[in-house]
Structures are given as C-alpha cells and as structure tokens.
Amino acid sequence: MTTTANVNDWLNDHGDYLYRFALARLRDPVQAEDAVQETMLAAIQSKSFTGQSSPRTWLVGILKHKIIDTIRQQIRERPTEDLAEDLSEDTAGDEYFDEDNRHWNDAPQAWGVPDGALEQKQFLVILQSCMDKLPKKLASLFMLREVIEEDNEKICKDLEITTTNAWVMLYRARMGLRQCLELHWLGR
C-alpha cells in the first residue's frame, strides 16, 4: 500500500535519479521534471507496489511509460519541419550521394572507437551536439527507436504514420547524425 509518507521518501531518495533518467531520454528539463511529477502522482494513486521489487525499479517502470507518452507528443506536436522532404522515399538521402546516386559524395571514414574515459567523454559531448542539430522530430523518433527500443510497428501505430515513413525518417536521422559525427569527431 502506498502512502503519502512513502511517496515523499521516494521523492527524496530517488527524485534525482528519476530526473536524470528522464532528462537523458527527453533532453528537455521542463518535460523531464513533469515526467517525474506525474510518476510520483501515479505512484500515490496506484496500489500495485507490492514490495517485491525495489521502489526505484517500480518507479522507473512507471516513468518509462510517461517518457514514451511524452516523446510521442514531441513527435506529434512539433511543427512539421520540412516534413514533406522527410517523408519522400525517393529523394531521402540524395544530398549525400552523387547525381545518379551510385556513390557517396564524401566517403565514410573508418571511425576509431573512442578509447579511454576522456575520449569517450569527448565523443559523447559531440554526439549530444549532433543530436541537437537534427530536426527535433527526427531526433525524438531516433531516441524512441534506438534507446527506448520501441518496436517499429508499435511506434507507427501510435504515431499514425506508415512504416515507410518511419524508415525514411530514421534513415534521415542516421544519415544526418553520421555526417555530423564524421565532421566533428574525425575532424578534430
């Protein structure tokens, strides 16, 4: 049985962790705070905490659903930044290839895997700035697919987009991220 006292303790003990968990996925401090708040409120109302798992595990389970809902909203509500282009299957990726699309304009390079803690950290900083440069809708969808590992069919159903649209958007996200990383990671 969940009581207010429990929930207040949970907020003290796990609030920071839940916030970091949400922020890492939503990349928006206001939305991350809201997700933590909604998780706590859901925790009060829920009677399903049985003590079989730790409170943190249980809370993270609730938070995950809130995060997925929020990302769906991010994708649905964000302005349709050149969406026509995003969804056109034939021309997606054209900018990375020569005129008849046979060869890469800029040959992909062999990436060194970041070595050691410092390099690893530098790489992740670059990754973050490259994610920030992607159109927001694409970045949100990419996050949902790659990190939260939502099933592609489920994503399409929830967002009411076709599977082809999703493939095209994910392709554009990966190509954009790749080009940015190549420029900034290798170009150091």
Binding site: L11, E33, M40, I44, G93, D100, H103, E146, M175, L181
Partner: protein
C-alpha cells in the same frame, strides 16, 4: 547491383525490420565490393552503441539533480492528493 544510396537505405532499415532474403543477398554482395558502405555499416553500429552509452552516462551523472523548486512543487502536489 545496388547503388550506394540503396545499400545505405537497406542498412538503415535492417535495424528496424527484417530484410527479405533477396535484399540480404543483394546487400551482402554490395558490401563485398564496397569499402565505403562497409564503413557506413560499422558507423551505424558505433552510433547505436554510442546512443546507449550516452544515455547511461547521463543517468549516472550525479551533478544533474532535480531542482529544489521542482522538489517543493512535486511535494506540494503529493500533499494535495492526500
């Protein structure tokens, strides 16, 4: 023979759906002959892992905390639900 653009699309889609055996065969053949797309395939894997690493690094970064204002606000909401 697939173009590099077609190959790159299939490589991306292979992370989101199961390719048909025809597509897999065409892709394997292309990769055998194309170093650039082979590198691209490796880059996709590195990016996938990097995304996971980035998220777990942010999760463990204890310098990131829920603001005091947010804690107070959430505690008030909890109290008001009682």
């Amino acid at each position: 023979m697939l173009s590099c653009k077609q190959a790159s699309k299939l490589l991306s889609q292979s992370l989101d759906r199961k390719l048909s055996w025809k597509e897999r065969l065409a892709l394997r053949f292309h990769l055998l002959l194309c170093d650039m797309c082979t590198r691209f395939a490796k880059q996709l894997k590195i990016m996938q892992k990097a995304m996971q690493d980035w998220v777990s690094a942010s999760e463990q970064d204890e310098s990131i905390q829920l603001s005091q204002a947010a804690k107070v606000r959430i505690a008030e909401k909890i109290a008001s639900k009682q």
